[in-house]
Amino acid sequence: MDADLPHPPAYGAPAGIPRRLGSPAVAATGVEVRYRNRIVWKDASFEVLPGEFVAVIGPNGAGKTTLFRMLLGLHWPSSGTLSVFGVRPHRGNYRIGYVPQRHTIDQDTHLECDKLVRLGYPGTRWGPDQRWRPLQWGPRFRLAAEREAAAKALEDVGASDLADRPLSGLSGGELQRIFLAEALVGNPEMLLLDEPLSNLDIRRSRELVETIHGLVISRGVTTLLVAHDINPLIKCLDKVIYIANGRVATGRPHEVLTTETLSGLYGVHVEVLHDSRNNIVIVGGEDERGEEGA
């Protein structure tokens, strides 16, 4: 999707809020991050435009999850400026839907999928500022709206038939769809997906990527997705954020994933190879500083 194209409004976006076309969804200038007093990465400057589908790639512990935590306002940059939709990141931002890497939900959770998805629903919004009130104290009266939003979210991720199944019987791919619906139910303008493709086989991960790409197009939702392997994603991506060796590189996939760029990023020679089906293999550099950071 090209950034200059007029951007379709997000599904159910509150009317009356002018969307500032062209203003970045995420803007970082000279951001430095520390985790337990150690620099994770620094001098990061990048932009993500509204409606872009972005992969965040890098070795374990390079600070990909930390980037998400910063966007969610749970972690602060030690220097530099970071903004989400033009404002400083803050907790409880209703414009962001988040799927963490680990959930406390497992095989012992006896809960209907529909019930989990509904928990993500923002509920009653009042006041002129349209700000979501995360604490829905007291009883709620908008059950019908909630039910519809949950049904729509489940439909959009292709999981309508799972609505009344318990979470405990689902496969990994089905579970990821439910988590995706939970993040979508509040009609966010940005999705942060932390490793949704891990533990999925090749076919399931391709299906999930197709679903997510469909959401990026139909809902116009800006999506950042952390992944280990870029190959299932490469056809749909607008941009890659590559984090390694305490540095961050961004750009279009074919610009970033080149021998020159990655060698420069790592400071050692890294080879980017293409196989006959245009799959990408990155050789060297992975274990250089892979254990460090957070």
Partner: protein, 495 residues
């Protein structure tokens, strides 16, 4: 029947028994306090299970022991010491960590110290044995009227707070990271939960004791999450289970004189074992999507088995009533008009049973007919159940002929002997065909059980000749099949 153990004499008239129970003030207090406690424990227990904080509950109970001992030492009622100590410890735990369950080592250390402290307090106090015993194992019959009022007030307070924070707490308990990202105050919610837990435990200790606290705080909720996947339903089921345990325990203890704690724990345990045995909702297999028609069919069959169980309950109840009525008026047995007079209630119940049974048979037929459209496996059950419907019609006709014959015979002879004569073979034929229908229900249930990998369905099919059991187990099987769907690559597939 004389009393079991040294208890109050027990009569088989339950109404009289409850009246006796209610005539003792200590028993009234115990039942009232127990009810409030069961409600609190059932609700909070659901969150304990959801958050996996049973260890925190255990630790709070133990710190309550030292609190109760301290209160006894200074001459106050144990409940005040319990409240003070558990709330303080809960607050400490709340600030210690976001999720108490993740803090095993700290909690364990504190738990041992609290128990030791309690031992010291108890030994400083003169009446050593009895007090320690009642704190550790509960003393339900020593609850004063003031304490009942306090328990009720706390129950109302706990209910109000849970109603306020229900949704955020549920979210934070289920999906902590997302809840945090949404801006929910995890520390505050955890703190609120632990304080509620402390209050519920303080009161529960009075009737069940420190060492048996799990029977009220964990077991009912553990049963509930096996029976339902809806949070609110689970809370209600959990409360109901806790109530049956407390009420049942108190009732039995009055007539036996053995400790109430044992019976409460025992009832909760038996319920848990029963639910585990049935298997509840739990089954983790890889599933595939099911055709809408098939789901429809299985849903109809589920309703059919439920109606079947209902019919059986009514039948048994009606038969019991009829027996009682006939024992009272033996002459009514072979005299229809006398039966109307003396056993009208029984006849009405039996009539309802017949209606429910017919509806059940109709639903079975319609369910198997839907499935027969998808697979030939179900065409013979559909046919058999249709034959069964015919059998029911014949049975009804035969019965009507026979009864009218007998009734007419009492007035005048005419067509009466003929009616009796034709009625009986018709009745027999009807029953045989009806049994063919039941056979069809069993075959269909067995085949669906194979398809869905549902042992409950197969067991229900085999036990269908013990109707109440068979229909009830089949119902559980159909329900689970509906929720779970068939496993991938199941043997007998609907094409």
């Amino acid at each position: 029947m004389s009393g079991l153990g040294n208890g109050i004499p027990f009569s088989w008239n339950l109404v009289t028994d409850v009246r006796i129970l209610w005539s003792y003030e200590f028993m009234r207090n115990a039942v009232e306090a127990g009810t409030a406690i069961a409600i609190m424990a059932g609700i909070i227990g659901y969150f304990v299970v959801l958050r996996r904080s049973s260890f925190a509950a255990h630790a709070l109970g133990h710190s309550g022991f030292s609190g109760a001992a301290a209160a006894v030492l200074i001459g106050a009622a144990p409940v005040y010491g319990l409240l003070a100590f558990t709330v303080v410890v809960a607050t400490g735990m709340g600030f210690l960590g976001r999720r108490a369950s993740a803090r095993d080592v700290e909690i364990g250390t504190m738990l041992a110290f609290a128990l030791g402290l309690g031992l010291l307090f108890i030994s400083l106090y003169q009446g050593y044995d009895q007090e320690a015993y009642s704190i550790l194992f509960g003393e339900v019959l020593g609850i004063s009227t003031t304490q009942v009022a306090l328990t009720f007030a706390s129950c109302v307070g706990v209910l109000a707070v849970v109603a306020m924070i229900y949704r955020p707490l549920l979210f934070a308990s289920l999906d902590e990271d997302v809840a945090e990202a949404k801006g929910l105050p995890l520390v505050g919610l955890n703190l609120a939960f632990l304080v509620l837990l402390a209050i519920a435990i303080s009161f529960a200790v009075q009737i069940i004791g420190v060492l048996l606290i799990f029977a009220l705080m964990v077991t009912p909720a553990a049963i509930a999450v096996r029976l339902t996947t809806r949070p609110l339903t689970a809370v209600v089921v959990s409360v109901v289970v806790a109530l049956t345990a407390v009420w049942g325990g108190l009732f039995v203890t009055l007539f036996t004189n053995y400790p109430a704690s044992f019976f409460i724990v025992g009832i909760a345990f038996v319920e848990y074992v029963f639910i585990r045995g049935i298997g509840g909702l739990r089954e983790s297999s890889v599933l595939q999507a099911v055709d809408a028609t098939e789901r429809d069919g299985v849903r109809v069959l589920r309703n059919a088995s439920l109606t079947g169980s209902l019919a059986q309950v009514l039948l048994l109840g009606g038969a019991a009533l009829l027996t009682v009525s006939l024992l009272a008026y033996p002459g009514a047995a072979w005299n229809p008009s006398a039966l109307y007079v003396h056993a009208l209630g029984a006849l009405v119940v039996l009539g309802c049973a017949a209606v429910a049974g017919t509806v059940s048979a109709l639903l079975y037929f319609s369910g198997f007919r839907k499935l027969a459209a998808l697979s030939r496996d179900y065409s013979s059950p559909a046919f058999f159940t249709l034959v069964g419907l015919l059998g029911i019609a014949l049975t009804a006709g035969g019965l009507a002929l026979y009864v009218s014959g007998v009734t007419l015979a009492a007035v005048s002879y005419g067509l009466a002997p003929a009616a009796e004569l034709f009625g009986i073979p018709l009745l027999f034929l009807g029953v045989v065909l009806w049994l063919v229908g039941v056979f069809g229900q069993a075959v269909g249930g067995w085949r669906l059980g194979l398809r869905y990998g549902e042992s409950a369905l197969r067991t229900g099919a085999l036990l269908i000749w013990v109707p109440l059991l068979g229909y009830t187990i089949s119902f559980l099987g159909y329900r689970r099949a509906l929720v779970q769907g068939p496993p991938l690559g199941s043997a007998a597939t609907i094409s």
